[in-house]
Amino acid sequence: MTVTEQRPTQHASSITANRLTRVQTGAVLAGAVVVGALSWLPSGSPNWARWIIVGLVSYCIGIYVVSRIVEGRRQGLDRLMRAVVTSAFAVVAMPLVSLLWTVVERGTNRFDVAFFTDTMRGVTGAEGGIYHAIVGTMIVTGLATIMSVPFGLFTAIYLAEYGHGTKLAKAIQSMVDVMTGIPSIVAGLFAYAMFEMIFGPGTRSGIAGAVALTVLMTPVVVRSSEEMLRLVPNELREAAYALGVPKWKTIVKVVLPTAIAGIITGVVLSIARVIGETAPLLVTAGLAQGVNWNPFDGRMTTLPVFTYYQYVQPGVPPSNGQDRAWAAALVLIIIVMVLFTVARILSSVLKPKGLR
């Protein structure tokens, strides 16, 4: 092999091999960056996307060739795979970073105190705020959580602890799967139709929005909670039974506490999943200009719906509404990030200390 020919001095040992140094791999990377830059030179102006893509591809090829020559076949393939996997990640991360960047850049135009304390009542110019939409989002998602967590958790307990292997459990499971796939607008129309039947045509309310979100949230809660309950080792259940602990008490005092960290994380993630829903809230909760604290009476604005309307009906000049839309989107992203952080912290605090 080429390898052994190139290092006669090290030939004696069968377990040492030539390795690329950091400087050498760095040089390959630098070369790839230059190749990427060259690719847009002919057209004149910098083209980031082309630069990065061409750079990544030439890095993959370059590192493979260099490593193959210096380190041998196995190391070369290893480096190639590592480069491909890392590049794939970089390609995926690019739009995400770009999206965050755009939202922050445009959202900060109206990220002022008044934006959080004002509503849209009587606003025609550049002022106005999202106080009413934050209240609406909190109420609607809060109600949806209050409704879907008990339903979802009890269903999950049934599936994981009681119904195991029964026909009913299998039927429920496939129903939950189907529910997971329901398009959100269908959930919205369902809730709308339901409340129309009860309260007459054209009714919009926070509770209708909450019901729509519940339809979307419950299957997610069921799935994640069931998964977490199944992760609890059976030995713990048996240990409790062997002490003469009844089944329901075993579930409440042993199984749930062991799984609680994961269950809470799942619930928070499902909240994050529905808090940005627009379509179902558009049909069910609608839009109001001011604060509405009563979910049972009248329209209630939520952040996504607010964002939508500010963008499609921005006013004059359009930048007024558009700035508010971007700022509201930024707030939504921040809320979701806070939720994720809370989930992280909760799960590390509540995680049983020594679960194997």
């Binding site: 195991h164 292997g165 080792p233 030995e235 713990l236 259940r237 048996e238 240990a239 409790a240 039974y241 062997a242 002490l243 003469g244 602990v245 009844p246 008490k249 075993t250 005092k253 042993v254 506490p257 062991t258 049983p352 200390k353 020594g354 679960l355 194997r356």
Partner: protein
């Protein structure tokens, strides 16, 4: 099947009498067939387990020792489709009789498992108290402290953990965890203690500690232990039952049961000789 009981009814009667006069809880097993769904895992066990002594169950893997021992406190039926035919008498009462509450049975017949399984969400003290607390008995603080100390002393663990009772039980070593599980089991004051290979996940030192513990516990409890280790059976038990199996898919059964020294010095059955001398499996 040499040990099959000639007049089972009288055994039951004797056991009931023994229990009444405080001689402890003899277990009488009659014609026990144990199933997983349609699969007969253990067939036709007849056995008398003497009170206040250690009885060892030995035999090759898969012959149904775990299955059998779990049927002695109705833990077998927590597995989907698992069922039992026959009778197990404790104090002359059939555990599988009509109207018997398995939860009540398990409070009377405790169990220690192969892998130590302390509750990961609970401290050492809470683990010991788990049985009492979860059985919805409210106990006050000083009672609780006494019970924790008594049970941990009973399991020879008190000195090692008395300064960290509020730390998670899963922070202990494997051997300590297993003794914690024994403490947890004896805290509910069972009359019978079942142990399914309690030492197989432990190092020799911890194993020794548990064997010593069994020697102390046998004055209070009727102990049944499954073990893969024949030296261990010889060291700790006074009676030994040998289980075997004729082939995969066949039910396991009891070949013979006798005093432990007889079983290891001059058993009646050839297959027992083969097994205890290591010529088998």
């Amino acid at each position: 099947m040499t040990e099959s009981v000639d007049t089972p009814i009288s055994d039951v009667a004797v056991a009931a009498l023994d229990a009444e006069i405080g001689l402890g809880n003899r277990i009488v097993v009659e014609n026990l067939n144990i199933y997983y769904g349609d699969f007969l895992a253990v067939r036709d066990v007849n056995m008398v387990i003497e009170p206040r002594s250690v009885t060892a169950l030995i035999g090759p893997s898969g012959c149904g020792k775990s299955t059998f021992i779990r049927s002695l406190n109705r833990m077998h039926e927590v597995i989907d489709g698992a069922r039992v035919e026959g009778s197990v008498y404790v104090d002359g009462e059939d555990l599988y009789g009509p109207g018997v509450d398995p939860v009540a049975v398990r409070r009377k017949v405790g169990m220690v498992f192969q892998r130590p399984n302390p509750f990961p969400t609970m401290s050492i003290a809470d683990n010991v108290l788990a049985g009492k607390r979860l059985n919805s008995r409210r106990i006050n603080k000083s009672e609780a402290e006494d019970l924790v100390e008594k049970s941990l002393r009973g399991a020879n663990l008190w000195e090692e953990v008395k300064d960290r009772l509020d730390k998670p039980g899963s922070g202990l070593s494997g051997g300590q965890q297993q003794r914690l599980c024994i403490a947890r089991a004896i805290a509910v004051e069972p009359e019978i203690l079942l142990m399914d290979e309690p030492c197989s996940a432990l190092d020799p030192i911890s194993t020794l500690a548990i064997e010593q513990l069994m020697n102390e516990l046998k004055s209070t409890y009727t102990i049944v232990i499954v073990t893969h280790n024949m030296q261990q059976a010889a060291r700790v038990s006074s009676r030994t039952a040998f289980f075997t199996i004729d082939g995969t898919g066949q039910p396991g059964y009891v070949v013979e049961m006798d005093d432990t020294d007889v079983m290891f010095s001059n058993p009646k059955q050839q297959s027992t000789i083969d097994y205890v001398t290591g010529r088998f499996g």
